[in-house]
């Protein structure tokens, strides 16, 4: 079954891949290791998990203003996620997506963190603001 979500473009582009869903907001500085592309915040539900090459689905960005710089570094070091889908727009998340330069959408008609599961196959058409989700069989 394919679920279709509609929202708006944050960073244009089309990409598809496996979803990695975080129910908790993510810290950039002090929250990820850009060299490894992993979440390092000890109390985080995704502690130790790698987001490289995944469609990162998360409620939003928290913490330091180093957020965008740390995600930009994942692009420079080749550990970036493939695409991003987030619920709440903040300057950290928006600028972070812009400088990571991966297709990104937000303001979807359903909360992506609730309806997308880790392992689902997700196609982001960020140009049209459309997300297609195929449940993991």
């Amino acid at each position: 079954m394919t679920l279709v979500l509609r929202g708006r473009t944050v960073v244009p582009g089309v990409v598809e891949g496996e979803a990695l869903v975080s129910h908790e907001t993510i810290s950039g500085w002090g929250g990820i290791d850009p060299a490894k592309g992993t979440i390092i915040e000890r109390r985080h539900e995704l502690y130790g998990v790698c987001f490289t090459g995944k469609i990162l689905v998360f409620p939003g960005a928290k913490g330091s203003s180093g957020w965008s710089g740390f995600f930009q570094t994942t692009r420079l070091l080749g550990t970036a996620p493939l695409g991003m889908i987030y619920t709440v727009t903040t300057t950290k998340a928006a600028l972070g997506a812009v400088v990571t330069r991966v297709p990104t959408v937000t303001d979807l008609d359903q909360d992506p963190v609730e309806v997308i599961k880790t392992g689902d196959w997700v196609r982001i058409d960020a140009d049209g603001g459309v997300v297609e989700v195929k449940e993991r069989s």
Binding site: G30, R42, G69, T91
Partner: protein, 426 residues
Amino acid sequence: MRLTDDEKAMLDGAEGPAVAAAMDLLVRYGEALDCEQLCDIRNVAGTMTQPSPAKAKLVAEGGWDKAFSVINLDSDDDLEIPDMRVPTCQLQQGFGSDSAGIAPYSKQFIDLQDDAESFYGRKGVNILATCTPYQVGNLPVRGEHVAWMESSAVVYANSVLGARTNCEGTASTGAASLTGKIPCWGNHLPENRYGNHLIDVRVPVRDFLDWGMLGYFAGDLVQEERPVVTGDIAIPELADLKHFGAAAASSGGVELYHIPGITPEAPTVEAAFGPRPVPEAVTYGPRERRRMYETLNSQGHSTEVDFILLGCPHASIEQVCRAAKALEGRRLNSSTQLWIMVPRALKAIADRSGYTEIIERAGGRLLADSCPAMSRSAPEGTKVFATDSAKQAHYLPAILGIEAWFGTLEDCIEAAVTGRWAGDLR
């Protein structure tokens, strides 16, 4: 986005390729925010000099012009960087040469930063080298639009000073420094500056520790939103609000809060919420206070403490004075180190006032420019650290893989002298 004529000219290259790249980033960023226009700013607090492996590589390839182009403008080109268009300062950075031999930190990074300081100084960047520019002369006026990064400085500028800034990043502040523009979104718009959560404090909040825990509670509760805090609170001093905001921006993403009767945009509780009704209050009482204390101490197990860290955000001169008084005539445990982080300008005052001498005589250190989190540096072999900062207790275990204790200045000094953590909530 709707651009004005001068903005269009900048985007089209009328002021050179670096300014055009800066405007291109601001347009991409503005569109990502779904923002309609830019606003004029004349005060930027960003980061350019802080060393990193990625930056070292870029500098080796194409000098500081290249590093600024890629990191601060998000451009792939190697652009010649002009002078800063508006007043711009460097926030906290890496350790400098005077920390060599104290803080383990690479000589390569110290040299790289020295080189960066001379490059950016020539471009008109004020090297304040602190996360608290408002402590050393950069005080925007109420209502002024600015472009600041550093979450603890952003929340201070918005809430305590009444200036208007979003929590900017490395690239947006870089672009702002060459254009004098930033997306007019979020906190720049008056309708987004009213509170939307009410916290009723039912336990006395009088000192630095309690302001930090209350901030940590507020951030956890409201996440990115805007808390209004009332109740049993004493008039805070600068350091209390510095700690409160930094904590609220660590457990959550608070960029703006109001304390009716104290902060400038909230003469009353009603005014803090503007045209909206005052929401039902969430209580912060003894139980919530205890929970915050336990959460902040949940990453401490061994009571043998190797390292004490004070001054996050960078200490005020009063905090340095208090630490000196607490250390007077005492001597640190041989296996424990104590660092106090300060802005360099305040270190000069501490030196002159004799505080540095007292702290050093006890075996402690006053370090400028940086902190263990920024430089990823703690005394060799540190396994357990203690701090009076909710922000460092939150971040440092993840950044350095060490255990954390959180308590009062007195608890921390006691641990520095005995080598054992005996803090408790009193």
